[in-house]
């Protein structure tokens, strides 16, 4: 007998129906289109083809772009991890109580404002004649703005995605019982050892989530490269955007999208596999 109200299965329909209709079906449609010669409109003749995917492998341009996107993602993730982990650790261990709450909020707050705004603020800082240039001019050193260079993109990306990394790592660090650390110390392990053997492994789930939360979106980033990288910087994301907005070669764009998806999926599965191997080895 159903004693509970609001638990009937049809409650799933609005949310999941929505997701099926507007997420999974479009993805499926795009997948099909990636194998077509053109978008089937009206009575137009279309044929099944592998051309779109072949283009990717034929032209070195695309593999280069994929490489750039992946490198970008790796670098961003690396810096986020490098700066984010100590920050998360400092936040969970070095401060307490009210300070901790306030600092935590401070880190999260920009995360809540518009990402374009944050991007824009970097444009101002990094441009020619921007703040950094002006700052160095005070010392008589002429430093050109580093806007429209690759490092600018990375800086902006790290700035945007750092909170994700910090948040997830913080959550898993926070869960580690202090008594575990004390136990390790009482057994004679010094700080570094304790970190390596106790803290690091236990915080791994947070690290893995953080890495995925940063890596995946960055692979598909096109706004940051376009705005901060200038004319030269093309990534897989910008090329896909191009297909849909400028070139109108939607079938190619579809294929490229799925290739990107595939690469991302591969890496996620790999990392999940690695973390499972690691936990089994322990």
């Amino acid at each position: 007998m159903s004693m509970r109200f609001g638990g009937r299965w049809w409650g799933l329909i609005p949310a999941y129906g929505w997701l099926i209709l507007f997420c999974f079906v479009p993805l499926a449609v795009m997948f099909v289109f990636s194998f077509l010669s053109a978008v089937p409109l009206g009575a137009r003749e279309v044929s099944f083809t592998f051309n779109n995917y072949a283009t990717f492998f034929q032209s070195s341009l695309y593999s280069q772009l994929t490489l750039i996107s992946l490198t970008m993602a790796f670098q961003t993730t690396f810096w986020c991890l490098l700066f984010g982990y100590p920050l998360a650790w400092a936040l969970s261990k070095a401060v307490r109580g009210r300070t901790q709450g306030v600092l935590f909020l401070l880190i999260v707050v920009p995360f809540w404002s518009n990402s374009l705004i944050r991007l824009y603020s970097w444009v101002i800082v990094l441009q020619n004649g921007g703040v950094i240039s002006q700052f160095f001019k005070l010392f008589g050193i002429s430093v050109p703005g580093i806007l429209f260079t690759y490092p600018a993109i990375i800086i902006a990306l790290v700035h945007a995605y750092l909170p994700y990394m910090v948040l997830t790592i913080y959550v898993s660090l926070d869960r580690i019982d202090d008594s575990l650390i004390e136990a390790s110390r009482s057994l004679g392990a010094r700080a570094w050892r304790t970190f390596r053997r106790v803290i690091l492994p236990l915080s791994m789930p947070g690290v893995v989530s953080g890495v995925i939360l940063v890596f995946v979106p960055v692979v598909g980033a096109f706004v940051e490269p376009r705005l901060l990288g200038g004319r030269q910087s093309q990534t897989l994301g910008t090329i896909i955007e191009n297909q849909f907005v400028n070139s109108f070669n939607w079938t190619l764009g579809s294929a490229l999208s799925f290739l990107m998806l595939f690469v991302v999926l591969l890496l996620v599965i790999l990392s999940a596999g690695i973390s499972r191997l690691r936990s089994r080895a322990q």
């Binding site: 449609v29 374009l116 849909f244």
Partner: protein, 261 residues
């Protein structure tokens, strides 16, 4: 030794906060700077705010972003509430699968979701409109909302509903007086979270908005590409202050379950 470590950590936090906030502060300062090209030294002037008040385009875009965010967050939260209740209450075999189904919309780069929707609508002959824009927003919001509400439901004591029933309360009444009030913080958190997701969303708006409807992120994007209008400084500053205020107020009321309350 421990002191040294602790102080180093604190210094590090300050530096990190500096990295996060300095560009934003500079942008905000420049909103009050007379200089058109963000040149220091700072000459205080409110001219850009005045220009902003007359910039219909920017204002309309901001209003659009806010309304879209408000509308879609409510819609997404309602859908998510129903779903979260089912996921939390019932035990059935496909549950893990359903939970896994929430991952793709959250983790797939939004550009891919956006172009997939664009493609599908185009093929079906549906032209871009406010509706398509809203559809896209809600789609990416739903998984977040479900997760937030589910987390809150999971943390609620199951026996409370049993207790209510034992006291003679019929299921509908139990839902109204016990389940719903206890769920409310989660629903609120979902509303705020999805609002932020929508307000901040660039890819979906960029690809799915009809001509003539612009949102704030898109306007800033265009402004940066075509040439700076310092009014962007002004509007960005305003938006940032408001959203920061909301986050500070809201963050204190609702813990997302990130910190053990």
């Amino acid at each position: 030794m421990k002191h040294l470590l602790r102080n180093t950590a604190r210094v590090y936090i300050v530096l990190a906060l500096g990295f996060i906030y300095v560009p934003l502060l500079i942008m905000m300062l420049n909103a009050f700077n007379q200089s058109r090209i963000n040149q220091f030294p700072l000459v205080f002037d409110l001219v850009w705010f005045q220009k902003l008040a007359q910039n219909q385009r920017l204002i309309r875009a901001t209003v659009n972003s806010l309304s879209i965010a408000a509308f879609t967050s409510v819609l997404a939260t309602i859908c998510a509430t129903f779903a979260a209740l089912v996921l939390a209450r019932q035990q059935f075999r496909g549950k893990a699968f359903l939970q896994a189904l929430l991952l793709p919309p959250m983790t797939i780069p939004w550009i891919i979701l956006a172009v997939a929707l664009l493609l599908t609508f185009f093929w079906l002959g549906i032209s871009r409109s406010i509706v398509t824009l809203l559809l896209g927003h809600v789609t990416v919001q739903i998984p977040f909302a479900i997760i937030v509400i589910s987390a809150r439901l999971a943390a609620t004591d199951r026996t409370l509903e049993d207790a209510a029933a034992s006291l003679g309360s019929r299921p509908a009444r139990t839902f109204r007086t016990i389940t719903l009030p206890l769920m409310l913080p989660g629903v609120l958190a979902a509303l705020i979270f999805t609002f932020a997701v929508s307000f901040d969303n660039f890819p979906i708006s960029y690809f799915l908005a009809p001509a003539g409807v612009s949102t704030l992120p898109v306007e800033i994007y265009t402004a940066i590409r075509t040439g700076f209008t310092p009014e962007v400084n002004a509007i960005s500053t305003l938006v940032f202050i408001v959203s920061a205020a909301c986050a500070l107020v809201g963050g204190r009321e609702i813990s997302f379950g990130v910190r053990s309350a």
